[in-house]
């Protein structure tokens, strides 16, 4: 069976290729763009004895190129996405590229299973009660236009997959990871806080972080992708023994680098958000509404997270959070010192 991984050169993508091999896949095609850094995948391919890891140079910039990429493929793990950029680029790379992939899948001669990596960002958590548990039954965001562009794009992407799946009936599994961390990942998620001209605004406080260690997350995706009972299902991906934003930040400061930190309590953050939004509206966008009360409620109101459904498939985190943080922070410290 041949599987295709889009976004294979990325942080999660390379880990996913490793876990696919570890869980018995023997024919893995990695979609790589010209000019992208393939060193991690080349190293994986060299060590993959008994399995084929193909670096397929192409893209999903058009339905035709997507059709070439899925030729002979049985399962597509769709990870490719932009994490930042102008709104139009984000939609182009996340949503329109997905449409090209779907066009190719629908036109393929045989059924192709799709494992879509979505995001926690699709949930509408602003109006949940503090302390509410976010699980797969939590409603999707009812007001995408009030959210950041990444969440808007991921929401539209997931909706597009469901629309096309409902019409054409291919097997679909959706995973929604929380904050993916690890060696090579980002250091400080926005859920922890924001660096403002050398001063770190600690915004997360006692909020739990929906962390998932990159290899554990990749393993969850593979387990769901290989499980027959997962077809048609959606799974959140977060680890066990989650830490709060304050705990994460304290350990980061101890193990990685010293930071000048200004804690911003939630009530103060809500007041600042309201002021920022009001100024942005009054000034007709002279300064962008980086914070709004809605975004603040979404991110920092204090929700909890469930991975019970995923565990029902037999998944367990490969790495305890304490150890995962140790590995990630050792990497970040070395990167800063380099």
């Amino acid at each position: 069976m041949k599987v295709l991984v889009t976004g294979a050169t990325g942080f999660l993508g390379a880990a996913l290729v490793c876990r696919l091999l570890a869980r018995g896949e023997t024919d893995v095609r990695c979609l790589v763009r010209t000019g992208s850094d393939r060193s991690k995948l080349e190293a994986i391919a060299r060590e993959a004895t008994g399995s084929t890891v193909e670096l397929f140079v192409g893209s999903i910039d058009s339905s035709a190129s997507a059709a070439r990429a899925i030729e002979g493929v049985d399962v597509v793990y769709h990870l490719a996405a932009s994490l930042a950029g102008a709104p139009a680029d984000m939609f182009l790379n996340v949503v329109v590229a997905s449409k090209h992939l779907l066009d190719a899948i629908v036109a393929a001669a045989r059924p192709i299973k799709v494992v879509l990596v979505s995001s926690f960002g699709v949930y509408g958590t602003a109006d949940l009660a503090a302390g509410a548990v976010v699980d797969e039954s939590t409603p999707l965001e009812p007001h995408p236009e009030r959210r950041d562009i990444y969440s808007q794009a991921k929401l539209r992407q997931e909706r597009l997959f469901r629309e096309v799946q409902a019409k054409h009936g291919f097997p679909l599994v959706v995973l929604r990871p929380g904050v993916i961390y690890g060696r090579g990942g980002s250091r400080l998620s926005a859920r922890v806080g924001l660096d403002l001209a050398g001063v770190f605004l600690s915004l997360g406080g006692s909020n739990l972080l929906p962390l998932t260690y990159v290899e554990s997350c990749a393993d969850a995706i593979v387990i769901a992708g290989q499980s027959p009972v997962a077809v048609g299902q959606t799974y959140n991906v977060v680890d066990d023994d989650l830490v709060t934003a304050d705990e994460y930040l304290a350990r980061y400061r101890r193990d990685v680098q010293r930071l000048t930190v200004v804690p911003v309590p939630y009530p103060a953050l809500r007041a600042v958000s309201a002021a920022v939004q009001a100024y942005s509206r009054w000034s007709k966008g002279q300064l962008p509404a980086v914070f709004t009360p809605y975004k603040t409620r979404t991110m920092w109101k204090g929700t909890r997270f469930s991975n019970a459904k995923l565990k029902g498939l037999g998944w367990r985190p490969l790495v305890p959070t304490t150890e995962g943080l140790g590995r990630a922070f050792a990497f970040h410290k070395a990167a800063i010192g380099a």
């Binding site: 000019g35 709104p87 139009a88 329109v96 597009l160």
Partner: protein
């Protein structure tokens, strides 16, 4: 009357168009957006609360009957879309470059004249406050006659647009005759026509666009090749001299200098002026009237005071919500819509934009980039 506006092409710059139109209150409202990819039209309409979105231009024109069409698609499609919009009875605003070449630009201007509709182009910095002030200084005679101008533009390829075109060998920029330069050179050139006086000043719109201006251009690639395709061939450094009968200009585009510079310096017979388009400042340098060492001492203080004053002016503009990123674009929209309402001349003379189209043709002739996208 509130003008009904449609935006065709829902890429990055379309956001700026919609935002600036929405700031104009009752003067205009966006009724629809169009993109051949419906998802792109949908996302723009959704984010800005716009009533209509389409993937078919002709259908949109027939249903919405817009008064004005803004064209924000890649330049390869500007002429065809412009003609269809004009034929549908709309006035047309085109993002720069106007078309791919002088002949196409001339055809579009002729079509607008024939249709009795107005046409303009996104020369947005031309309407930013510092360049407006520069024109006032000329009008008051404080600079005297122009002798020489320098127009500099830095363009970092690490930004979103640079990443997009370096990430895709089929990006539309690679299909332009002047490639990366073609998408940016208007910003350097449209500041110059008034500084290089026309030898056909009396409204001969379609006269030879180059006239007595002699053009010499050199371009090269400074980046290290890493793709093995058309992207590696895309030049990223350009130098152009334009020499007229009584004045000259030097144009300089770079993708490598830091900080990313965007300035216009004008040397006149009475004084010289420096416009910093990034900082939105304009400062003058005049011949010191003080003798010997005092004459060398005073200019630094004079420059410092001018910068202080300009900083204060900008702070006041900020306090009055008049310091937006697209201030010039907003003023250009206002001027264009005003010209439609009053049936006055368009904000940018057709002769002006056609001279620039002609200059660009000559620059691409001298700096050929023949390797094109598949």
């Amino acid at each position: 009357m509130t003008l009904k506006v449609a935006v065709v092409g829902c890429g990055k710059i379309a956001d700026g168009h919609v935002e600036e139109i929405q700031k104009l209150g009752d003067a205009a409202r966006v009724v629809a957006v169009v993109d051949r990819e419906l998802l792109m039209a949908e996302q723009l309409a959704s984010r800005y609360g716009l009533p209509g979105f389409y993937d078919d231009l002709d259908r949109m024109l027939a249903i919405e009957r817009p008064d004005v069409v803004h064209i924000t698609t890649p330049p390869q499609s500007h002429l065809a879309i412009g003609v269809r919009a004009l034929d549908a009875g709309a006035h047309v605003y085109v993002e720069k470059p106007l078309t791919l070449c002088y002949a196409d630009s001339r055809a579009l201007v002729l079509h607008a004249l024939g249709a009795g509709k107005k046409l303009t182009i996104g020369y947005s910095y031309y309407f930013d406050p510092p360049l407006a002030e520069l024109r006032e200084l000329f009008a008051r005679g404080e600079i005297g006659e122009p002798v020489h101008a320098e127009s500099f533009l830095g363009y970092g390829l690490a930004g979103p647009f640079g990443k997009a075109l370096l990430g895709d060998a089929n990006h539309w920029v690679h299909g332009l005759p002047g490639k990366l330069f073609h998408n940016n050179l208007d910003h350097l050139l449209y500041k110059l026509p008034e500084l290089l006086p026309d030898d056909r000043p009396d409204g001969e719109v379609f006269a030879d666009p180059i006239g007595d201006v002699r053009i010499s251009a050199q371009g090269f690639v400074r980046r290290t090749a890493r793709f093995g395709d058309v992207r590696d061939a895309m030049m990223d450094e350009l130098r152009v001299t334009l020499t007229g009968s009584r004045s000259s200009a030097f144009v300089w585009f770079s993708s490598h200098v830091k900080p990313i510079v965007h300035t216009t310096r004008v040397y006149g017979t009475r004084s010289s002026a420096l416009v910093n388009h990034t900082a939105r400042t304009i400062t003058l340098e005049s011949q010191s009237a003080l003798p010997s060492a005092l004459g060398r001492l005073a200019p630094a203080f004079d420059q410092g005071l001018q910068h202080l004053r300009q900083g204060g002016v900008n702070a006041m503009r900020f306090a009055h919500n008049d310091f937006h990123f697209f201030t010039g674009m907003n003023r250009l929209f206002s001027a264009f819509y005003d010209s439609i309402e009053r049936d006055g001349p368009p904000p940018i003379p057709y002769r002006h934009l056609l001279r620039i189209a002609g200059w660009m043709d000559e620059i691409w002739r001298q700096v050929p980039q023949t390797e094109v996208a598949r």
